[in-house]
Assembly symmetry: C2
Homo-oligomer: 102 residues x 2
Amino acid sequence: MIIVQGEARFHPDDMPMLRKAGAEMMAATRQEPGNLAYAFAEDVASPGLVHIVERWADGAALEAHFKTPHMAAFNAALGQARVLALKVCAYDASGERLLAGG
Amino acid sequence: MIIVQGEARFHPDDMPMLRKAGAEMMAATRQEPGNLAYAFAEDVASPGLVHIVERWADGAALEAHFKTPHMAAFNAALGQARVLALKVCAYDASGERLLAGG
């Protein structure tokens, strides 16, 4: 499994546009083969700070994701936003175990 | 490295209380030895859906986190909230590589 975690800080005034673009991107990405989880989510304490949370079955699924039409559309939307900081990393992950709930 | 990812769905009316409790929990947890990242963040498309995003240096750091006073305080706040769904998992992670930004 590949896990992706990242943070992007945007100008808070751009968040209404980014919520809409992000919702469309999430809906399309969750239909992709090999996608296990995909979300954009806003920090509860810091307006404009967006957390990126992804899980993929394997690296091939993630590579295919980068080439999708909805990725191109989302990147175009990002180009309209004021990105103040950005860092997204991928990790090789294994050994899933439940910590809470189910 | 240990990665934690999870989702909790709350009654949207409980979010103001949870944002406050979550902000206090995040601030305290980010001071813990071995914590690399810790956030509660609200899905851009689904009010009341909270994503949990964590990275820890090792399993011992995560175990120590569960025994902190701020964890007890946060669990008390959670006990006041209407939790509609909850699933949190941990993963063994390695091979960090930058996908975007830096």
